[in-house]
């Protein structure tokens, strides 16, 4: 039987890994030389003087990809408990998922037809 105690080693790994990360960041901070100049701390723009800052709006496409990702991700998560029980549910479960997937595919074809995923 699976209990929350199974996750204790994961917590251990987290402690070990974050300990290593913090230690390394701290040590490099101490070891490295510090010769800071104003120019060195400017954002790198291939030697040209930097223009404004990088907080700028970007293509809506990325936003759309993120929204669709959330939707698809939830649908995929729905399929995991189904896949685990697939052999027990047999034909009934398969038809159930077929209906779910057909609705999913309708949405998917709509997205592609409307060119929502077209990148120039």
């Amino acid at each position: 039987m699976s209990t929350p105690a199974d996750y204790l080693p994961i917590a251990m790994m987290f402690v070990v890994a974050s300990g290593f990360v913090l230690f390394t960041i701290f040590v490099t901070h101490l070891l490295g030389p510090r010769r800071k100049t104003e120019v060195k701390l400017e954002p790198f723009e291939c030697g040209i003087e930097s223009q404004e800052n990088a907080r700028m709006p970007f293509s809506i496409k990325y936003f759309l990809v993120a929204i669709l990702f959330v939707l698809f991700d939830v649908e995929i998560i729905f399929m995991y408990p189904w896949a685990v029980n697939f052999k027990d549910m047999g034909m009934f479960g398969f038809v159930e998922m077929l209906i779910f997937l057909s609705l999913f595919l309708v949405g998917f074809t709509y997205i592609i037809r409307r060119g929502a995923l077209k990148w120039e």
């Binding site: 929350p4 929204i67 959330v70 991700d73 029980n85 709509y110």
Partner: protein
């Protein structure tokens, strides 16, 4: 052994939730919210709801918050451009939130604690969740597919409208 873990997790949850509101930069707020989701996933784990734990991390912390972060990065958020709210709006916000808090507090106070040994039955494990979901709750499951369909159509419409504007 479990009690201190519970208290530590609960304190972290409350701290992160407070920092979401208090943090000055929107991106920091989002990151505190992600941390808050992790502590809540920890609470699910304490209840042996392992599937819910994984889903909470994948969907909330790993997908929805990516979208949030994208939106906040997409909006042109320089610190100077953050709009100042009027005093009335602030008072209204604080009082509504305070009232909601009181209602929740009252609800929690009158609630009967239920002791359920979830570890013995394995209620929260994937297999059990799947059996319930795909037999008893078949209809809601199929209806949720319709919901996803409408959400997809909505997202595409929204994206196209925005694209033609700019």
């Amino acid at each position: 052994m479990t009690l201190p873990i519970f208290y530590i997790l609960a304190m972290l949850s409350v701290f992160c939730a407070l920092m979401v509101v208090v943090a000055r930069k929107p991106v920091h707020s989002v990151l505190y919210l992600i941390a808050c989701f992790f502590t809540i996933a920890g609470h699910y784990l304490m209840l042996n709801a392992q599937f819910l734990f994984a889903v909470h991390i994948i969907v909330y912390a790993g997908a929805i918050m990516v979208l949030f972060l994208f939106v906040i990065m997409l909006l042109n958020l320089n610190l100077e451009s953050e709009p100042r709210k009027s005093v009335i709006a602030r008072v209204a916000a604080v009082s509504t939130a305070g009232l909601l808090f009181l209602v929740l507090l009252a609800a929690v106070k009158s609630a009967e604690p239920v002791i359920l040994d979830t570890s013995a039955s394995g209620v929260g494990l994937v297999r059990h969740v799947g059996l319930k979901l795909y037999n008893e709750y078949m209809m809601p499951f199929e209806v949720s597919a319709l919901l996803f369909l409408t959400a997809m159509v909505g997202a595409v419409k929204l994206g196209r409208k925005e694209a033609t504007h700019s």
